[in-house]
């Protein structure tokens, strides 16, 4: 008993009870003040706030989580290895938007990588333990079981980039189809006729939609789509290089390339350079993402801008709403919430 008591005193952090005693009120009243309940008189509130300040009281999160059955934390789950996370500016922008929006609240953000199998198992445990109130899912592949796990566990979740047109989770996306179209329309407008496309990973829905936009823009302009001008990439620089090499082998006289990401465009550019092809004189190049890479490339890269930061912000908005509603929108029979934000083509010297 004595030992036990000593343990509990360690650190000497003040508790609600102590604040209550100091302010001369009950425990419940202090709790109400801390949580901003309106049902407290001004005088009492002031007294409690003074006691809190004097004692340097900070609520014990664990106790609160246990009693209230919530954690005040949400996770940003990245189903990729760290490496890609840092290599792609997409994540950095997303994190910025998320962080900005979240800083308005009392919620804490956890960043969780789930690239390897081992990490995924850990994540599953983590989610099963309900250690977060909600989850933000970015860059999810079509066959990923994660979203289903989430709905099964009834954890509120928002996905950036739906897995398919029939996505069941609440989602935020940019208009990939329109983005793909605008890239092609831009190149056609500049008089290009043989336009190749290096796609992103095709198990990413957004990458598919860009291809759709690419095809439809060509068709609507009266062109026949030459499938040998479409080469799948994987969003990496090396993949862009490989795809470009492939394309030049099959269609040496192409006069434009639309890459599904700036990083892949950078890879493509290297190959074009090595072959002595000038940008944009011989081959026009358009990227996707409008990242720092695009601005710093030589020549500067025309690129399709996605409002990624904005997407991050919207995701948080939607997630907080779902958490407030205390269960996923689906199970409440509400309409699926899907938000699509516009893209914008940023013309530069490469096209």
């Amino acid at each position: 008993m004595a030992t036990h008591g000593a343990r509990s005193r360690s650190g000497g952090r003040p508790t609600l009870e102590e604040v209550a005693a100091r302010a001369g009120v009950g425990r419940g009243t202090v709790s109400r003040v801390i949580n901003g309940s309106p049902r407290v008189s001004d005088a009492t509130r002031a007294a409690v706030e003074a006691a809190v300040a004097e004692l340097g009281y900070v609520p014990n999160t664990a106790a609160r989580a246990l009693a209230a059955n919530r954690t005040d934390a949400i996770a940003l789950v990245v189903p990729e290895p760290e490496t890609r996370f840092f290599a792609e500016p997409y994540f950095s922008d997303m994190l910025k938007g998320v962080g900005a929006e979240l800083s308005e609240t009392h919620m804490q953000l956890l960043l969780i990588f789930a690239g390897s199998d081992r990490e995924r198992r850990r994540l599953a445990q983590y989610l099963a333990a309900h250690r977060v109130d909600g989850v933000l899912l970015v860059s999810v592949h079509a066959d990923d079981p994660l979203p289903d796990l989430l709905s099964q566990l009834e954890i509120p979740a928002v996905i950036s980039g739906p897995r398919s047109a029939a996505e069941t989770l609440t989602s935020v996306d940019s208009d990939n189809y329109g983005g793909g179209r605008s890239a092609v329309e831009h190149l056609l407008g500049r008089g290009r006729r043989t336009i190749a496309h290096i796609t992103g990973r095709l198990d990413v829905y957004g990458a598919q939609r860009r291809v759709d936009g690419y095809r439809d823009a060509l068709r609507d302009a009266g062109h026949v789509v030459d499938e040998l001008l479409v080469e799948p990439g994987d969003f990496t620089e090396e993949g862009g290089r490989r795809a470009m090499t492939e394309l030049l082998g099959r269609r040496p006289h192409l006069d434009a390339v639309f890459a599904g990401s700036d990083v892949m465009a950078a890879g493509a550019r290297q190959v074009l350079r090595e072959r002595g092809l000038r940008i944009p004189d011989d081959v026009a190049l358009v990227g996707y993402d409008d990242s720092a890479i695009a601005r710093h490339m030589d020549p500067p890269l025309t690129s399709v801008r996605q409002p990624i930061e904005e997407m991050g912000r919207r995701m948080i908005d939607l997630l907080l709403t779902e958490i407030a509603d205390r269960r996923p929108a689906v199970s409440r029979g509400l309409e699926r919430r899907q938000m699509v934000l516009a893209t914008e083509l940023v013309p530069r010297a490469s096209s």
Copy 2:
């Protein structure tokens, strides 16, 4: 009461008590099994494990945290805006090492940015609430109050890159002095005589130590140190550009530059190019960090490699030890723990 009961049933997650009932043992025994105590007979352990599997039991972290007064989480605190975090490969490598080492344990990693004042205030609250068992501090400036806050709150912490020679926190560092020396010795060995240095931010101890190494290497080789050949940078590309411009203005005939980071070397390279100076023919260039930038630069950049991933791993080791010891080493009167890892010069075409 009924309502309350309903609330507690929500989600229907099994508790320790239920597992105990199922296994036909007491609560304490289940707890022992879950926590890997050796004081359980094999038969009992098997029975409990079966019950856990059948029920899909996952411990409630909040309850555990409240009862045991620990969180099983540690924070990686980055006192910089997100932007820099992503721009510098240093952090990415560090995170990789930290993540790898941590995945061996049951600990959770939180990534916390504290670039703005607002974020810092949030962090202070966060730490005061003891929401993590320990803290990893990277890239801390000499006048940062964070380390002191940490010792005051008696939160175990390990710092990467001590703030000064008299750092009180447990620290892990690479041999910046030796790294600086090796860069200069390398350049001298290649016959260079007028070697400039673009430093990192001088409120970063490691950057200072590199300058010390630079100076001593020159002196030991019988040179007089020309202070006009030393220009402070700030670890950014733009800073490298500015410093290089400055240096060329003062010492147009310099024949080598040692930059305190690869990113700054990239900035310096741009300026050299613009002035028509060839690398390495006219000016040799050496960077620091041996990042992807160094390998991909044209020409490839000679650079000093720091074992950053390894540093991340060591930091975790030390931190976990301190946490296990339950209080900072300092207050136990132990020797300060300071670990210094060797650097290695990686020669490439730029020098």
